[in-house]
């Protein structure tokens, strides 16, 4: 495995809050690296450090090293526009520029000195084809990009990013705003593109990571939990926290104080029993209840939150049963 980006002791802060803590990891060349982890774990911040988009956020700063070849991205004296050109970014929500489809693609190349109309025509056609959008838009290249469907807009953003000839494509949950068909389209394109590009994709969708990734990085609360080839990390994680995340549990370190089995009870009795059990607990203690009544699955957490308690998780544990974990407040 040849490394393309080397991250050394990366720390990132928003004001006093540490969003990323001491992360050291290598991003392999011409592979798809998935960054997984729950919301708020610093995935997007991590990505924003790569092209220093984090500079645009109020009070944010990053320290450490991100080596792209022999260029340290975080070094203030580095030509950041050049670094950014070398890394395309596919955002969470497509963000076409306020211009025509054609100009959206030509915008980047024009910035970097391509003025020749013929050449621009070729570039536009080439990258729209790569992004799989050419056939849909070739007759209306002059119409506004905002008129495209959201799935088409995302492919337009992909084409636009590729048109400045980057080496790396960064994707920040690129399919989270898209319908399933458009998502699949983007995923197929990414698999195709990894022949020529290093791809880093942030995703909270574990299945997407399984479908796409060659290499996986798991972040949790700003810390690097585990990284390695996708097969190893996803199929056989070394870390308990990774295993828990993949199985759909975020709160593995919860200590359950009392457990209550309410199987066979219907609403509102299961709710009343749960309330009684919670009443006997001290503040801050944690109660786990098991229910099998479908109404209870939504109503018990809702009722508990209405009472001011905190519902830590509610999830299906087998075909019929659900567990609900509540912290008394």
């Amino acid at each position: 495995m040849k490394s393309h980006i080397s991250i050394q002791n990366l720390n990132a802060f928003y004001g006093d809050h540490a969003a990323l803590r001491d992360i050291t990891v290598e991003i392999p060349e011409k592979q798809i690296t998935a960054i997984i982890g729950p919301s708020g774990c610093g995935k997007s911040t991590f990505l924003k450090c790569f092209n220093r988009l984090i500079d645009l956020t109020d009070g944010a700063r990053a320290s450490g090293k991100i080596m792209l070849g022999d260029v340290d991205v975080l070094n203030g004296s580095v030509e950041i526009t050049d670094v950014r050109r070398r890394m395309g970014l596919l955002p969470q929500r497509p963000n076409p520029l306020p211009m025509s489809i054609y100009d959206n693609i030509a915008y980047g190349p024009r910035l970097h000195g391509t003025k020749d109309k013929k050449k621009l025509d070729q570039i536009v056609e080439k990258y729209l084809k790569i992004a799989g959008l050419w056939d849909e838009v070739k007759d209306r290249l002059k119409s506004p990009a905002s008129k495209l469907s959201i799935g088409q807009q995302q492919r337009l953003c992909l084409a636009r990013g590729l048109a400045v000839e980057p080496e790396i494509i960064l994707c920040d949950e690129p399919t989270s705003a898209l319908d399933p068909v458009s998502s699949q389209h983007i995923e197929e394109q990414l698999l195709e593109l990894k022949k020529d590009y290093t791809i880093v994709i942030v995703t909270h969708n574990i299945h997407q990571a399984m479908r796409l990734a060659d290499y996986v990085i798991h972040l949790y609360l700003g810390e690097l939990v585990e990284h390695g080839p996708a097969i190893e990390v996803l199929e056989n994680p070394k870390e308990e926290r990774t295993r828990a995340y993949i199985n759909g549990t975020f709160h593995t370190d919860i200590k359950i104080d009392t457990e209550l089995n309410l199987k066979g009870n219907v609403c509102p009795y299961n709710f009343v029993y749960a309330k009684q059990a919670l009443h006997e607990l001290e503040k801050g203690k944690i109660l786990k209840v098991i229910v099998d009544d479908p109404t209870a699955v939504t109503e018990v957490p809702r009722g508990m939150e209405a009472d001011g308690h905190e519902v830590l998780r509610a999830r299906q544990i087998n075909k019929t049963d659900w567990e609900i974990v509540i912290r008394k407040n």
Partner: protein, 282 residues
């Protein structure tokens, strides 16, 4: 109180407010048209004021029309050249987050509310000091200063509305701050910028007090920037001040001409805006 009554009362309130707005505007326009239209004639817009015009004799107010257009567009051009860069500089990407920006905004807001006669007096003092006479140039400069706060603050508000996503898109493609500002921000904010320009133009061309001392008044067309120049608001003022009903009617006609100029520019800018709107991201 039940919801239905609440709804009805609120609706009545909104409709009566609208009625007051539309009604009062309508009365103003109606009075101007009613009094001005009969006095409007071709000679009025093709001839300058001859001797005795203000006593009811022949002539027109071409000098004031031309003067107002010169003053209006001259100051508009100058104000736009200063305002746009200033408004762009107040973006977060430049000095928007600094303490200085806060005070700049504050002083612009205060200037916005300052009566125009103060601008006129200020301009007049400076001109006296420099030994300048009342002139087209002086009028243009004072009007420009009068328009700046309106223009900068209105533009800044629309520039602030440009989504961060768009700027990020541009930056990630390797654009500099300037390229992003010129290529994306201005483009996205253009309809709003046009509105800001119209607002400021209205304030500039319709103002009498600030140019009373600085541009002066004359029956002739200006031949250079240093000649004094007539203007429509002052033409209205002087004509209304005469004791002759006939001349007073011409004042209304002059006001009507001013209204038509502003209306024409508004309509033109709206049409222009629509073309710019085509590519805007919502």
């Amino acid at each position: 109180m039940d919801k239905l009554r609440e709804e009805k009362i609120f609706k009545a309130l909104m409709i009566s407010s609208l009625a007051i707005v539309v009604g009062s505007l309508f009365i103003v326009v109606a009075v101007i048209v009613w009094n001005g239209a009969p006095a409007l004639s071709l000679s009025m817009i093709t001839q300058t004021s001859k001797g005795g015009y203000y006593l009811g004799k022949g002539g027109g107010i071409l000098n004031a029309i031309v003067g107002s257009l010169y003053l209006g567009f001259g100051s508009l051009t100058l104000a736009l050249m200063i305002s746009l860069p200033a408004a762009l500089a107040l973006q977060k990407d430049y000095i928007g987050r600094t303490k200085a920006a806060y005070y700049i905004r504050l002083s612009l807001d205060v200037l916005w509310g300052t009566p125009s006669i103060v601008y006129g007096a200020f301009g007049f003092i400076i001109m006296l000091y420099l030994g300048m006479r009342a002139s087209l140039l002086g009028g243009i400069i004072v009007l420009t200063i009068l328009q700046l706060p309106v223009m900068i603050r209105t533009m800044e508000e629309v520039i602030k509305m440009v989504p961060v996503d768009l700027k990020e898109a541009s930056y990630t493609l390797g654009a500099t701050r300037f390229e992003t500002t010129a290529g994306v921000v201005v483009r996205q904010a253009l309809p709003g910028i046009v509105t800001a320009v119209i607002l400021a133009f209205g304030r500039g061309i319709g103002d009498a007090a600030s140019i009373l001392f600085t541009a002066g008044y004359t029956d002739n067309l200006p031949r250079s920037f240093l000649d004094p120049v007539a203007s429509l608001p002052l033409a209205v003022f002087f004509q209304l001040g005469t004791p002759f009903p006939e001349v007073q009617q011409r004042a209304y006609a002059s006001a009507l001409i001013l209204l038509i100029i502003i209306l024409a520019l508004s309509i033109a800018s709206r049409a222009l805006s629509k073309r710019f709107m085509k590519n805007i991201i919502r």
